[in-house]
Amino acid sequence: MSLKNKLHNFKVKNKDKKWLPAFSALHTFLFLPNETTHGGTHIKVADDLKRTMNTVIMAMIPCLIFGMFNAGYQHHLALGEIQAVTSGFFSPEFWTLSNFMVGFWKILPLVIVSYGVGLGIEFIFAIIKGHEVEEGYLVTGMLVPLIVPVDIPLWMLAVAVIFGVVIGKEVFGGTGMNILNPALTIRAFLFFAYPTWMSGDKVWIHGAVERDQLIASGQNLDAISGETILGGLAQGKEIAYSLWDMFLGFIPGSVGETSTLLIILGGLFLIFTKIGSWRIMLSSVIGAIVMGLIFNQVTASGWITESSKFYGLMSAPFWEHLVIGGFAFGTVFMATDPVTASQTNKGKWIYGFLIGFVSIMIRVFNPAYPEGVMLAILLMNVFAPTIDHYVVQGNVKKRMKRLKAKVA
């Protein structure tokens, strides 16, 4: 008997056990289950929720690996051990084993904690509620390590994951019922709960916090600091990175969001496999460009002068907003979450446009917290059902009119 059949028989034999959902979750990960539906005709497609989720994870893997190299690269660069990259994306200074190992040992624990805690909660809820384990956490679990600073303490991440999965998702009924994107709920929780670990100039480069502690204990060392570009612009500083560095991702930032190039590749992969909505991605970029252009016009016409605290971010050219910060990552991987986004095609255009528009607005007008894309997406998550409602009602009205015209 094949392993597949053995597992199936095992499942049948234990079908009344409480822990069965946990078993079948692992089972369906590897095999297509033997069960068939009864009554009625069904068309079965291969890309169930689990396959969909795995596709998104595949799209994120390049960002994760790049993030590991980048964490080590930023660390070594800040210590003065290596030179800055000079020859584009394949610079030999960047793709070294020592860079990778530093990042690997920092980021692997983040991934393990994120998946361990999150899936643990999913299993517990499945057993209590007596339903199958839902796969919703697969993508969230990969998103979470990519959107936090590399030095975040693991216990904080665990607390945030518990909060995000329970309050962000399970209370609403689990996967598919949540209003807010769970990964962003987790990040928002971290940001408001432990702001010193989520912003400022110490957390983005591995080693900066430890270095500060060594200095405090009396050792004679230079402090490491590394702001994100957004943080620098918000304080009106000159930015030392070239646009090309920003696009390729050789900049400090959350683990997986620095390389716009790889995010675009991931986005194309999602569009090609028809899993991510190109309407949301495109309209969100348009929204950001429109808002960026408005701000550029405001500074160009001299309404806001350099003395204003908004000047730094307002005068940043609109295309720069697209490649710095988490905008690209949020647009491609988080705004497109099919559960929390608008469902109608027209709604997706509005939803995406407003995400881009609002996130640049928050960036500029909230210098204390320049990363607006997280809040913009959470805000629009809340409004997505309202947008859909009016789109559907508009359609109903249009058809009613047409019907009346015909009758008359």
Partner: protein
């Protein structure tokens, strides 16, 4: 209970759990979110509301047959406003620091939905003694939730309880802080109070399925 008849005792015990003003009737949420960052403020707020509600209920109950129904809301407001001013002045006289923490929220007891709600729903139709018990019961139910929320918010948000550093000193890194623990700043923000209240509602309704409304 010797002192209270079974029916009267229910007036006090019901609002504590199955008919809690905050978690079941969802009244008085505003102050529950605003002043629960510290346990001490929660307790004082609970006591203030209890004083206002119990006395106010008795006053309204005594006047229930002479208040013209067209202007009853105005009469109720006058009664509650007078009581609130007394409570506010007492706090200012004997606990000035605390009254600054509570700031406008003592004054805003006037607009606390629970108070007008009990006047309307109970005191206008019941005798003074029963109205008094109802006031005590509802204020206790309100206070109970305030204290639970205040307990968790102060413990997790500031690492203290009633001002005592129960988890150690965050600056000198003693106790839990020595091993890397940090206070949760989110707990000090009002949205987290809403979530804590939500969790209490969740726990309560999953323990007693009869409370779940469709």
């Amino acid at each position: 209970m010797g002192l209270l008849s079974k029916k009267d005792a229910k007036l006090i015990t019901d609002p504590l759990a199955d008919n809690n003003p905050i978690t079941i009737q969802v009244l008085g949420i505003c102050s529950a979110l605003a002043i629960t960052a510290e346990l001490k403020a929660s307790i004082v707020m609970a006591l203030s509301v209890m004083a206002v509600l119990a006395i106010g209920n008795v006053v309204i109950s005594l006047m229930r047959n002479i208040i013209p129904s067209k202007i009853r809301i105005i009469v109720q407001l006058v009664v509650v406003a007078a009581l609130v001013i007394i409570v506010d002045q007492v706090l200012k006289a004997f606990a000035y620091e605390l009254s600054k923490t509570l700031s406008v929220f003592v004054g805003l007891i006037i607009t606390n939905c629970i108070i007008m709600g009990r006047f309307e729903a109970f005191a206008l139709g019941n005798k003074p003694w029963r109205s008094f018990l109802d006031g005590i019961g509802n204020a206790a139910g309100y206070g109970l939730i305030l204290i639970i929320v205040g307990f968790f918010r102060e413990l997790l948000g500031s690492g203290t309880l009633l001002g005592f550093k129960v988890l150690g000193d965050p600056i000198e890194k003693t106790g839990l802080y020595a091993i890397g623990y940090e206070n949760n700043g989110f707990m000090l923000l009002s949205p987290m109070a809403l979530i804590v209240v939500g969790i209490i509602i969740w726990v309560q309704r999953s323990r007693n399925q009869a409370l779940i409304e469709d």
